[in-house]
């Protein structure tokens, strides 16, 4: 299991379109990916668009991303980079 934390910089937070790119990016990942905002006690399966959207992640929120599965070592750094590039 791999985990990283990331604080959202995008002023709109993770709204519909960014959530869409995230889901698309994760579709080829075999591991399960969970996204959580611990401060708000919310978490969701990051591969499910509506679930991610319902978290309504805002600018400044710190998200904890957990990757768990066979390809976790390979994809975790890529996913972390993806968050930095997009959110």
């Amino acid at each position: 299991m791999k985990t990283f934390e990331y604080t959202v910089k995008d002023e709109l937070g993770i709204h519909a379109r960014p959530a869409g790119i995230l889901v698309k990016r994760l579709s080829s990942v075999k591991s399960s990916v969970t996204i959580a905002v611990k401060a708000k006690d919310k978490s969701a399966d990051a591969k499910r668009l509506m679930a991610v959207m319902k978290m309504a992640v805002k600018q400044g929120d710190t998200v904890t991303v957990t990757i768990d599965g066979e390809d976790e070592d390979a994809v975790a750094p890529e996913i972390e980079q993806f968050f930095k590039d997009n959110f």
């Binding site: 519909a16 379109r17 869409g20």
Partner: protein, 537 residues
């Protein structure tokens, strides 16, 4: 050949193919017998929806802009959402039919979004409903009416304002509805668009009508589906002579509307959106006597911004090139409901929270609108008119508020021009106190539709009452005479902007009463001008 009839709302003959416009909301809990096949049907619908959205995305991007296109993109993302898709597939596996499953899961997801404590995400509920409606339409085969590939005739139960907003108006040759009335939204739209239409018809609405030929005779109130050769020939002749009558009116284009004895009257147009400007120009109107603001609020899921309102008003004001444009402030409520206003259901909406009552209560809505109108005033000649007035106190409150708004704009350095402030006389209270009200406003415009409804206590949406309805009732004629007289005593002008203004049998009467302006559907101007020029008054 199937022959039937209804009430004509605009004269003329139209011949074309039928597009059945049905609503998707009558989704009933149906069971499916073959689960595998139903899952395939759902897959197929998903594919079709995806293709439709791709096309819509391109169209929106080109015609409207990136922001709106982004909304379409989000909707297509939902088509791949696991919670949504798996939820629907699970329901189908348990034996429900695809359309009902989509409807139920869509509703559940939309409600979950609507309950979120985040304005942006809340609004996404509409997107989920929209994509679900699209899938349901595809699955139930009820979507043909919404996209017209070639010009045709729309057959529907009735059309709501928000449904007509979405129609491609260039392609509509006529409307044929089962419900509605002479004053229903569809009828008003038909008159603005200058297309023969029938309401209250006996037509059997069925998807099998799609693509069949129909003739609409807006003179006799008849329609013919799959016409035989003789009928087709007769109707083509009728269409031609109607065209000739219309052509004969062309000699009145560009002429002054003045009677033989020299009495002048301004013939203005009623319109419902900036798109209608072309009908105003075609119709040769001398100004706009009623620009409805409702269109700006319909067919969307949140309030329009000041800039959006301003752009829409400015477009009309500029297009009129210095001719007067009377803008009516928002007249929503009653029969024109909009979800995001969150208006509570009322026992009696016609007597309820509507029109100026909303504006004077929710001042933020009113302020945005007035700021937009005053900003647009710099681009031409603008007058503002307020609906549903019943008292002097309202007029005073409105004027105080307008002064405040103008003051704000001046302080911000925004350019405005002088604007006439007038009121609609459409309640018996306003008519009876018109001598008092006239002291405080720049003009009156009589809204005969509502004035008649309130004076006669007849609901204009209830067709059962049509037999009791008398548009020429003496009570109304007395009111009309009194309103014009009181306006002139106070030195202000008076006009009529209800449907009655276009009643050719009353033109002489209105001229005798001294009305300064008649505002009608743009397509009626030339005919009315002919009547004025030939009048002996």
């Amino acid at each position: 050949m199937i022959k039937g009839n209804g009430r004509p709302v605009y004269q003329g003959v139209a011949i074309g193919r039928i597009y059945v416009h049905t609503k998707a909301r009558d989704v009933v809990n149906r069971k499916c017998t073959d689960i595998v096949k139903e899952l395939e049907r759902f897959e197929g619908a998903r594919e079709s929806a995806r293709k439709e959205l791709e096309a819509l995305y391109d169209k929106t991007l080109n015609e409207i802009g990136e922001e709106q296109a982004g909304i379409i993109e989000v909707q297509s993302l939902f088509l791949d959402d696991l919670d949504y898709i798996e939820g629907i597939q699970d329901m189908i596996r348990q034996g429900s039919d695809a359309a009902f499953s989509v409807h139920e899961i869509g509703d559940a997801q939309a409600s979950a979004f609507a309950a979120l404590d985040d304005e942006y995400m809340k609004a996404r509920a509409t997107d989920i409903r929209d994509i679900s409606d699209r899938l349901v339409r595809i699955l139930t085969g009820a979507d043909q009416g919404f996209r017209m590939d070639e010009p045709g005739i729309i057959v529907a139960e009735d059309l709501t304002p928000s449904e007509t907003v979405a129609l491609d108006k260039d392609k509509i040759l006529a409307f044929v509805t089962r419900q509605g009335s002479s004053n229903s939204h569809t009828a008003i739209l038909a008159r603005v668009m200058n297309i023969p239409s029938l309401v209250l018809t006996d037509i059997d609405i069925d998807p099998s009508l799609n693509g069949r030929i129909i003739i609409v005779d807006g003179f006799a109130g008849n329609y013919y589906i799959d016409p035989d050769d003789a009928t087709m020939k007769a109707m083509q002749d009728k269409k031609r002579s109607a065209g000739e009558y219309k052509a004969s009116l062309e000699s009145y284009r560009g002429r002054e509307s003045v009677t033989r004895k020299g009495q002048k009257v301004s013939l203005f147009a009623n319109i419902g959106s900036p798109d209608d400007i072309r009908y105003v120009i075609d119709g040769d109107a001398e100004g706009i006597g009623l620009l409805r603001s409702e269109f700006l609020y319909l067919g969307r899921d949140d309030f329009p911004t000041e800039d959006e309102l301003f752009e829409a008003y400015r477009k009309v004001v500029e297009a009129m090139e210095g001719r007067k444009v009377v803008i009516r402030t928002l007249d929503i409520g009653a029969d024109k409901k909009v979800d995001y206003f969150r208006l509570e259901p009322e026992e009696n909406p016609a007597l309820g929270y509507r029109g100026i009552r909303i504006c004077l209560t929710q001042k933020d809505i009113f302020r945005t609108q007035l700021r937009a109108i005053y900003r647009a005033s710099a681009y031409g000649r603008v007058a503002i008119m307020f609906p549903m007035i019943i008292s002097l106190k309202e007029v005073e409150d409105i004027k105080t508020f307008c002064t405040e708004v103008v003051g704000e704009l001046e302080a911000e350095g925004v350019r405005t021009s002088p604007v006439e402030l007038g009121i609609m006389i459409e309640t018996p209270a306003a008519a009876l106190t018109s001598d008092i009200l006239a002291q405080h406003v720049d003009f009156f415009s009589v809204g005969t539709n509502d004035l008649t409804q309130y004076t006669l206590a007849i609901d204009r949406q209830n067709e059962k009452l049509d037999g009791f309805y008398d548009a020429h009732h003496p009570a109304l004629m007395r009111f009309l005479a009194m309103i014009a007289e009181n306006a002139h005593k106070a030195g202000i002008w008076a006009g009529i902007c209800g449907e009655l203004a276009g009643d050719l049998s009353l033109t002489d009467e209105f001229l005798k009463m001294g009305y300064d302006e008649l505002s009608v559907a743009p397509s009626r101007i030339l005919e009315l001008r002919k009547n004025v020029i030939e009048s002996e008054v």
